[in-house]
């Protein structure tokens, strides 16, 4: 009996994990290939007719190819915000870790406040309007940078702590200017944590629903998560197309995650333990 225990326990754990993680995904996939009336019953029965291609075309063509525009917008926002985030937070983390001054404590508190305080939507909209950035992509990029900067900075700061200061000094003696020390010596060594940061932030920003909803209204500004509204309204919902849309929106981050899964964990833990 004792011999079988690990197998039984493992099997049960896997079954529970499958129910939690895979069943919802199967459910989405199943509804996405049904007809409208079948999907509205929201059950696990197999469809009479597999309408994968028809639904896919219907979703992409909806509202004059809005989904493609949304992909474009989301990609632009993600690429720009993540680039700015990586460069800015690595720089801030570097200075915070290396330079000892009386401002360190103040900056530390500011970063923690950025992490803990929930963003206030209405005042932020007011601010964006007054500087003319409301309903603009650049405004949205800045919002994403501001909201994610604290986490990213903390990640970098702890990682930079594991890079010996001797390297900075060796580069200084070799004649490197401060920006050369950062970009040619320190930044390349941050690769593991940078990959982690890029993946985590890209997925979060690409999948963001609420912030674009508040700060980026307007048909031409639509982002991928907001296209879900196309098929859901107060009186009628087209569940087959809604789920097909979810499927299409989920796939890009999923691919990124599958490929970089190992590196994400490596980068997250690298800062904590000295290798």
């Amino acid at each position: 009996m004792r011999r079988y225990r690990p197998i039984v326990v493992g099997g049960i754990s896997l079954a529970i994990a499958a129910v939690i993680f895979i069943v919802p995904f199967l459910f989405i996939a199943l509804q996405a290939v049904k007809s409208r009336s079948e999907a509205s019953r929201l059950n696990f029965l197999l469809p009479k007719e597999w309408l994968l291609w028809d639904n896919l075309v219907a979703v992409v063509e909806a509202r004059n190819y809005q989904l493609l525009l949304a992909y474009f917008n989301s990609t632009v926002i993600t690429v720009f915000s993540v680039t700015i985030l990586v460069v800015l937070s690595a720089m801030v983390g570097y200075v915070m870790q290396r330079r000892r001054s009386r401002w360190n404590g103040v900056v530390q508190v500011a970063v923690l406040i950025g992490l803990m305080m929930p963003p206030a939507v209405v005042p932020t909209i007011g601010l964006l309007q007054s500087i003319g950035l409301f309903k603009t992509m650049s405004g949205m990029v800045l919002i994403q940078v501001a909201y994610n900067l604290s986490f990213s900075t903390l990640l970098y700061r702890s990682f930079i702590g594991t890079i010996p200061r001797d390297l900075d000094e060796a580069a200084l003696i070799d004649g490197a200017k401060p920006w050369q020390i950062f970009f040619r010596v320190v930044m390349p060594l941050l690769k593991p944590v940078t990959v982690t940061n890029i993946v985590v932030q890209s997925i979060a920003i690409f999948n963001d629903f609420t912030n674009p909803l508040y700060y980026l209204p307007g048909k031409e500004n639509v982002t991928v998560q907001l296209t879900l509204y196309n098929f859901q309204s107060m009186y009628s919902s087209q569940y087959n197309l809604l789920f097909m849309n979810i499927l299409l929106v989920t796939i890009p981050p999923l691919i990124v995650f599958i490929f970089f899964n190992r590196q994400i964990v490596a980068g997250m833990t690298a800062g904590g333990v000295k290798g």
Partner: protein
């Protein structure tokens, strides 16, 4: 080749003074070793010469030029760190050529200089490797190569051999000495290992508590130590030193006798004691014993000596080898 002059160099961290006024003249081409116990300020002093630590007061000149407040890269120095401080993401060739590429030199010139430095350090076959694929000794040679290509006026070494094992350390000692002969450059070398100091230096600077205790040639320091501290620090095992009433009875404040300046006998002599321990090193043996009214004493004798722990031994100083210090 340039000399280095330090004039009343001081360094404080807040109210705490670490370096308490150092005056030193390093002549062009000289190999100078800073030696002293941990926390004596020798590394800080080296880092001040390198420009990695600010000078609180005093004047530092290299090659006759005042560089007290100059940038490290403007001082004409190169430094080899204890941790080697190789850039992990660059190959050996890139590590060695990094300084030149920062200076914007043409690629062909960098390649030629890197090749030359690598050739003189037997690193040519390793140029495409990353530092993590190198052994400790090879890493140290890369660090030295990085210093050589800068063609500096002064080489600074901060305990470069302390991460190596004993046999490699002996080999690297020879290599650095050879390098000094070949380049003829001024070198300043920090170590806490008095063997390195004795074997490599033209001139040893013994530091203690942020001050210079004595400056001199290795054998001068060994034969004529100015203070009990230098006497105790140079030589292994350290000199037997006695203070208090015993020393006053001998007409001084501190009395010292080196272990190798004692003759041992099992029958007669000046002091007698019971042997606690005998360390046999092969050619030599070290005999530890306790002399009543004086204290612990160690003597160096022939490896073939037959003294055993528990025996009574008699020790007599060689005439003229005794040291009487008035401090």
């Amino acid at each position: 080749m340039s000399g280095v002059q330090l004039k009343d160099i001081r360094k404080s961290f807040g109210a705490l003074e670490i370096i308490k006024g150092i005056d030193l003249d390093v002549r062009p081409g000289e190999f100078v070793v800073f030696v002293g116990p941990s926390g004596c300020g020798k590394s800080t002093l080296l880092r001040m010469i390198a420009g990695l630590e600010d000078v609180t007061s005093g004047v530092l000149t290299i090659g006759g030029k005042d560089v007290t407040y100059a940038e490290p890269s403007q001082r004409g120095i190169a430094m080899v760190f204890q941790s080697y401080a190789l850039y992990p993401h660059m190959t050996v060739a890139e590590n060695i050529g990094f300084g030149l590429s920062l200076a914007g030199r043409p690629k062909a010139e960098i390649a030629a200089k890197v090749k030359e430095a690598a050739g003189s350090l037997q690193l040519t076959h390793l140029l495409d490797r990353k530092p993590k694929a190198l052994s400790g000794g090879q890493r140290q040679r890369v660090a030295i190569g990085r210093a050589i290509v800068r063609n500096p006026q002064v080489f600074l070494f901060d305990e470069p051999l302390s991460n190596l094992d004993a046999s490699l350390r002996a080999q690297m000692r020879l290599e650095i000495t050879d390098l000094h002969k070949k380049l003829g450059a001024t070198m300043i070398y920090v170590t806490h290992d008095q063997v390195e100091a004795m074997t490599m230096a033209d001139k040893i600077v013994v530091l203690n508590g942020g001050k210079i205790e004595q400056v001199g040639r290795p054998m001068d320091l060994y034969n004529k130590p100015a203070t009990p501290f230098v006497a105790g620090f140079i030589g292994s095992p350290k000199m037997n030193l006695y203070t208090g009433a015993v020393a006053e009875g001998l007409g001084c404040k501190t009395y010292g006798i080196r272990p190798e300046d004692l003759t041992l006998s099992s029958e007669r002599g000046r002091w007698s004691g019971k042997i606690r321990h005998v360390e046999r090193l092969g050619a030599d043996a070290l005999v530890y014993f306790k002399v009543e009214g004086l204290g612990d004493m160690v003597a160096r004798t022939l490896g073939s000596a037959t003294f055993l722990p528990g025996d009574t031994v008699w020790a007599t100083p060689i005439p003229g080898a005794e040291r009487h210090f008035d401090s």
